[in-house]
Point group: D5
Chain length 91, copies 10
């Protein structure tokens, strides 16, 4: 079951620089880990923004929320989720 | 080169019903035709809306505009285009 | 699997009055039919608006889109779908 | 009398981490306490957001405001309240 | 129980002029009728707009929706309803 | 001369807690003082928000700005002012 | 007493062309008439739009609404009114 | 003197198809005519939209409004004008 | 050449109180200085807001930017500039 | 291949003043460096704002993102990218 997910990252300036680096490294590891399960088949950078456009393929709404909230950058992201269904003209 | 494209269809009520059906059939044919070239790798329906979420893979901005404006429903669509680039954590 | 669905109805003034009544009656029948399956557990009117707030309980995104697009008023509705998951503090 | 209530939580980064945990624990307790009175019949998490979608069932506007403002996270929430009434097609 | 209600009137140009006059006269009568019950204590015109700002005093959400939807201009109005409660500093 | 005034209060988290209490007490006193002059005939709390909906009755735009800017919370409020006039159907 | 008034004109395409010309001529006459009273001291065109930016100098909110609603294009305008007061640094 | 101008074209469906073609041809001629004067140095199509992004180089605000309002599609365009000045880091 | 300029002031709470007073005094002096040149013919306070509505009369876009960016509060203002031209019905 | 790029700069007040100056100087150098390659043919200041309007001419979406994210002010900018194509009436 597919979902379009748009993530915008907003790290507050007041956050400690070292902690930011630690979180970003953890984010990267976790993102790769989820992708390797096949549940995050597409991940693209939005040109000119600290944001991404993603497609998730999961069993349920609950599973999607568990995956998204497991991301180390989750507290600093604004996330929009759009459920997708099969398009009648898709080949 | 990838682009995220969101298309919202708004067919005016005043349009003749038969003409609408003709345009929709032509749209379907043209959508399949473009997908078969490999330039429109993903096409999904947004749940609850007469709208789609798409990924296009083209050589240039010009090519993308030519493809989109060749769609029979183009005059009745509101389209947002977001250029994508490779994400550093994508596998 | 639950979804919050907000439907706003906008019937164009140019639509024939009799056809409007036919569509509304069909909408009412179809709404009752879906509710009786248990897949549309909550349906409320928004005070002061020709709009509703609904909760759907379905197996998948595809099933939700099929139900929503089967509504006779679907072409005249603006629909927003929000996927829900279990809240950790819900009893 | 039913109300649709959407709560978005925004805890400022500058808040002390320990105090945040204390507030969250108190929030959880108070949320359960209100639910047990039957006045907060539905509480769902919005997928991908630190936000919830709720239905409240109270005697009056005043009672709803008292309940909402009694939540420990109230100062850090953006809340939208929509009054609901019976839908003519609800079964 | 008080509610702040903002009504914006948008009568489509395609509506027959005579019918518009009939509806406006009926709206005026119904508005006076409701005010005389004490349930619509305040009704003001927004300067420069075909819109009003109102306060309603009713027993329930259902009663408010019945009153608003009984207005002859209801199909041509965009209405926003905000529930009010007692302010701690109000005298 | 009447004005609809919507005030939304946003006190920054970085403000000293004691100073906040002092300002709120002063705000309360000043709000009561203005109401007693008859120039602030209505003051209601918006349900679920740290915000109010008010009606002011003053001699001029200048007088309204002097009253609003005399409020101790003025620097922390987002205020919208809408001039009102007599509604032709008001009784 | 001064007000900033922004008027955006939207004449529906379905309106008879001759009637449009009649209304525009009447608008022009009425606009000049009001300006000659001194109550509409400034009237400017917004570059690239069928819109104007105006300053009105009137005795009351009621008078402003009477002037604005007397404009022949009033039914086809979206108008925003902002009350102004003396600026402490104005010379 | 430079201005950034964004033009969005919205031709109503109710407009006669032949008249639309006449207007579009006239628009094209007039656009070329203005470009040849050097006052419209840049004109680009926005990908996926019936819209353009333009730079105008004119003597004054008045001249810009005269040029824009001389376009045959002017009544059907939504235009945003942004005045530009020299950037300190431009070479 | 006239421009409508709307300035909204947002001074961050974290700024030192004394420095704020110094900047405000400098702002006042600079505002008077510019007004005395005749290039800032109108300056009004927006009722209920720390904001102003202004008309500037300058030779060019560059001159307007130089004037606005010379204001001591410039770094703390959100400014919208709208170019104006002569209105055909202005007397 | 051309893109319209709008950059809005928002430097947080909490950032050290000296570091801000260092970043701005680096930004200026990098901006000049990119312009000299011919890939950033136009760079204008938006009048009254700490913002710019730019045209980039690059080989691909990836190249554009690399250029934009190489700007020292990138973490403090809100950037909107609009892909452009040739306009049929451009000379």
């Amino acid at each position: 079951m597919l979902y379009y997910v748009a993530m915008q990252i907003n790290i507050p300036e007041t956050l400690d620089a070292e902690r930011v680096e630690t979180i970003k490294a953890a984010e990267r590891s976790r993102a790769i880990e989820i992708q390797e399960t096949g549940k995050w088949p597409h991940l693209w950078r939005v040109v000119g923004q600290y944001a991404n456009v993603s497609i998730f393929d999961v069993e349920s709404n609950d599973e999607l929320h568990q995956l998204l909230s497991s991301l180390p950058l989750f507290p600093y992201m604004s996330i929009q989720v759009t459920p997708l269904s099969r398009h009648p003209a898709a080949i």
